[in-house]
């Protein structure tokens, strides 16, 4: 996909800080551009709803990306972007709890020591880790590697419903 302008979502650490680079995003709507000549993967990233579960963080923002915009497997990449507004309804604890319940469901369907361990682990970790554990537990329960992506898609759907997110 190539486009010129997209409204999408962006996970950030507390204080609108990019989790991998430490870059503090301006929250006043200013545009941020990728460095000139930035290679593939080093542009401004954002998520479609389907990508959300792969990148869970402390804050979720609605962002505007400007093009050219490239859609990749688990993220969008543009040459510039700006934060529009923060999704105040994001509740990491509710998401973590949903992941725990999901693993409990797998364990109830196909009890095993492995799933029991995942369930115990998910109860003690934060939302990003619990969601990864749930996706791994899905693979263990279903016995198919494809269950990982399916569970991530399900988690993204959960986020979209719980946070009433819409793609524009």
């Amino acid at each position: 996909m190539e486009g010129e302008e997209v409204i999408a979502f962006k996970w950030l650490a507390k204080g609108a800080v990019a989790p991998f680079t430490g870059f503090r995003w301006p929250v006043n709507g200013s545009w941020v551009s990728a460095p000139p000549g930035a290679t593939d993967g080093l542009g401004v990233h954002a998520c479609r709803i389907a990508h959300l579960a792969f990148w869970v963080g402390e804050e979720l923002w609605r962002v505007e990306l400007q093009g050219p915009i490239v859609e990749r497997e688990t993220q969008l990449e543009g040459s510039s972007g700006r934060l529009l507004d923060r999704i105040a309804a994001w509740d990491p604890e509710a998401f973590r709890q949903a992941c725990v319940e999901r693993i409990a469901g797998f364990h109830a369907e196909t009890p095993s020591a492995e799933l029991s361990d995942y369930l115990a682990l998910a109860k003690t970790v934060d939302a990003p880790i619990a969601s990864f554990v749930a996706a791994v537990a899905a693979v263990a329960a279903r016995g198919a590697r494809s269950a990982f992506e399916e569970e991530r898609a399900r988690q993204s759907g959960w986020l979209a419903r719980a946070l009433q997110l819409r793609e524009e």
Partner: protein, 85 residues
């Protein structure tokens, strides 16, 4: 756990790739998987930040700022390390 999802990098692989990541040399797919690992791995996130700080700090120390005695000690350590290889 990583055996269930073999294309997800392990912490050991992240450690091996960290320099290439910081230098922007990782191919797109590896870079994406690297960053996805950081989402759910506190340990690797801390490690990456420590590496970043080390590189930043080392970059601020010019060679001439080293005490000559310390410089010689360091060189000897490197020579011994190289001789062992």
């Amino acid at each position: 756990m990583s055996a269930r999802v073999p294309d997800q990098p392990t912490c050991r692989q992240i450690v091996e790739l960290v320099t290439d990541y910081l230098e922007g040399k990782l191919p797109l797919r590896e870079r994406t998987l690297f960053e996805q690992h950081l989402v759910y791995c506190d340990w690797c996130r801390v490690y990456l930040e420590q590496m970043r700080q080390t590189i930043r700090a080392a970059g601020e120390v010019p060679e001439e700022a080293l005490d000559p005695e310390r410089r010689e000690e360091l060189l000897q350590v490197f020579r011994r390390w190289k001789a062992k290889k």
